[in-house]
């Protein structure tokens, strides 16, 4: 169970996150929506300790996340993908996944050099996990391709896969559908919906595609200018006047009521 309390983050004069409370229960897919610059990515960057908030607390189960250094966050089961995709470009897809799996045990350099039993066990386990992710995301055909060669949509999938090979309890996905043709959004939503059951992980999903969010998430939080403006089931949030205002502007919100789902609430 993830809990943010009164988190605020600003860059100079810009308030990226404004006194935010956010809860995510285990075993569900939750979504974070909001226009460009609303502060969604900043929330992920706070959770995995890339950004230091000026105030507030972040708790995951019994762990005070703000006491950790960023590379330690994953030890407590929190993994993430990147909005702009940060793959290891010169490595193959399979090696990218292995790096994710490598955090299960970190054999030392000499253990690896002499290929001691511990190193071999690690290798077997890591490969097994990577295989499972390839299969789950249906990207086995990409395994030997260099990450830099892939088109953006497939890079996004690999990025998500790498986060999954860490065997997380909480998966943070930053716009996984970006760069993917609309036709594939539904199958992506289906994959994301399966994650709580198949991988025993909860998901915090950020996306501009309202269709994807509606289909994948059971709980939605909407942000605007760093603050939470609505929270609830996808339908509740979609019809919340403040959300409609934030997305479409107050004047034409009334007539646009029906059109908004179609417009995808694109920012």
């Amino acid at each position: 169970m993830l809990g943010l309390r009164g988190v605020s983050l600003s860059f100079g004069g810009v308030k990226a996150i404004d006194n935010l409370d956010l809860d995510l229960s285990d075993g569900i897919v939750g979504a974070l929506i909001g226009a460009n610059g609303a502060g969604k990515t900043s929330v992920l960057n706070v959770i995995n300790r890339f950004y230091e908030p000026q105030s507030g607390s972040v708790q995951y189960d019994d762990v005070d996340i703000l006491r950790l250094r960023s590379h330690q966050v994953i030890k407590h089961g929190i993994s993430r993908s990147f909005q702009n995709v940060a793959l290891f470009n010169q490595l193959t897809v399979f090696d990218n996944l292995l790096v994710g799996a490598d955090h299960i045990s970190r054999p030392g350099l000499l253990t690896n050099l002499f290929r001691l039993p511990k190193a071999r066990r690690h290798g077997r386990e890591a490969r097994k996990r990577a295989e499972r992710v390839l299969e789950f995301l249906d990207i086995s055909h990409l395994r030997a391709r260099r990450a830099s060669e892939l088109p953006f949509g497939e890079r996004k999938l690999v990025d998500m896969g790498r986060a999954l090979t860490t065997d997380p309890k909480l998966l943070l996905l930053d716009e996984p559908a970006a760069g993917m043709p609309e036709a594939r959004h539904e199958s992506l939503a289906k994959l994301i919906r399966q994650i709580p059951d198949e991988w025993e992980a909860s998901v915090l999903l950020i996306d501009h595609s309202m269709a994807l969010v509606l289909s994948a998430a059971s709980h939605v939080v909407a942000m605007d200018f760093g603050a939470k403006i609505a929270e609830g089931s996808p339908d509740e949030v979609r019809s919340d006047p403040r959300v409609i205002d934030a997305y479409l502007g107050p004047q034409d919100a009334a007539q646009q009521d029906g059109a908004q789902a179609e417009a995808g609430l694109e920012g």
Binding site: V73, S79, A86, N89, Q90, F152, R162, P181
Partner: protein
């Protein structure tokens, strides 16, 4: 964060991928190189200058691969790699002189370990220092080490240097050029096996991950600073071993054995051979040793010729020598009138 990802993107553009031949052809090439390396002294063993040059190529090979670990595989930089060789060389000389009857494997490990300690210390600031700053730090290191050797006379005999006895196991010593060649070859091969083993493991993946994206590496639980320090330590270890080999080859270590220009030549050879290619680095080493041998009488021309070679080569083979077999294969296919296979399979049509 944006700063991080920007620098990662820049590095990504620099480290162009090495395109490889099919496994079978590569194996064939490796076997051929191995046979040439093993039988070489049978043909040239009587010419001690040729044997010296060949052994120098092996020593440089290890030095340049150690630098490529840092630059090509790890995305870091060192303009002072010769400083590591100096430490390894002096450590070898001191061990051989002061510990009588020391078996050569222990001496080599000792020289590597002593250098690794220095590499560890030099690596400590890399958590904060990047790019140009790291270049300046390592450059300073490479310049400082010969100066220290010059002035610490009680240990190093100053400008006179230390005479290095030939390698020995038990009561057998190996003083001839051919024996020195095989000694260096055996040590080089053992080091290469170790390096390949590291690179293929989770440690090697961590090096590459830090090179390609520090942010993503961190998110995957890699301690970026610790990984860089480990990389510097590892690179220094192998450079120190190269220094040990060099000490035995020259029979002498002195402050003049490790000029700053040597560090730059190593760096040029890494680029010439191809970033993140062990085989390319070995090829670069052969070229460096041959240029050095050919220009030794007309001193001063070495940097010019090496610099010219780098420029020419990079014009025609921007990915370094390591790309040559692939390009040759493609040219051969074209010449035979077949359509060359694309290096990158065409991406699927649906791609945005």
């Amino acid at each position: 964060m944006s700063e991080l990802s920007l620098s990662a993107a820049r590095r990504g553009a620099l480290v162009k991928s090495i395109r490889k031949l099919p496994l079978g052809l590569r194996m064939l090439a490796i076997v051929a190189v191995a046979i040439v390396a093993i039988v070489f002294p049978a043909f040239e063993g009587s010419d001690s200058f040729v044997m010296y040059t060949a052994t120098q190529a092996l020593v440089y090979g290890l030095a340049i691969v150690s630098l490529n670990l840092l630059v090509g595989f790890g995305g870091q930089i060192s303009l002072g790699q010769a400083g590591f060789l100096a430490i390894g060389g002096y450590a070898a000389a001191l061990l051989a002189i002061h510990v009588s009857g020391l078996p050569i494997p222990i001496e080599v490990l000792g020289a590597g370990a002593a250098t690794a300690v220095i590499g560890f210390l030099l690596g400590l600031p890399t958590g904060r220092l990047r790019g140009h700053y790291l270049a300046i730090l390592t450059l300073g290191f490479g310049v400082a080490i010969p100066e220290i050797a010059l002035n610490w006379t009680s240990l190093t005999q100053g400008r006179t240097g230390l005479t290095v006895p030939p390698p020995r196991i038990g009561n057998t010593i190996f003083p001839t050029p051919t024996e020195l060649y095989y000694f260096s070859l055996v040590v080089l091969v053992i080091c290469l096996v170790a390096i390949f083993s590291i690179l293929a493991s989770s440690t090697g993946r961590a090096f590459a991950a830090v090179r390609d994206s520090e942010a993503a590496a961190t998110a995957m639980g890699i301690n970026v600073t610790a990984t860089k320090v480990l990389l510097f330590t590892t690179s220094a270890f192998f450079a120190g071993v190269a220094g040990d080999l060099d000490a035995h080859l020259q029979g002498l270590v002195s402050p003049d054995s490790f000029p700053f220009s040597l560090s730059l030549f190593f760096f040029a050879a890494v680029v010439l051979g191809g970033l993140a290619s062990v085989w390319g680095s070995l090829a670069g080493a052969v070229i460096l040793a041959v240029i050095e041998a050919e220009t030794s009488s007309s001193s001063g021309w070495e940097p010019v010729i090496l610099g010219g070679a780098v420029v020419l080569l990079l014009l025609f083979l921007p990915r370094g020598l390591a790309d040559f077999p692939y390009r040759a294969q493609q040219a051969l296919r074209r010449w035979r009138g077949r359509k060359p296979r694309a290096a990158v399979p065409p991406s699927r049509a649906e791609v945005s």
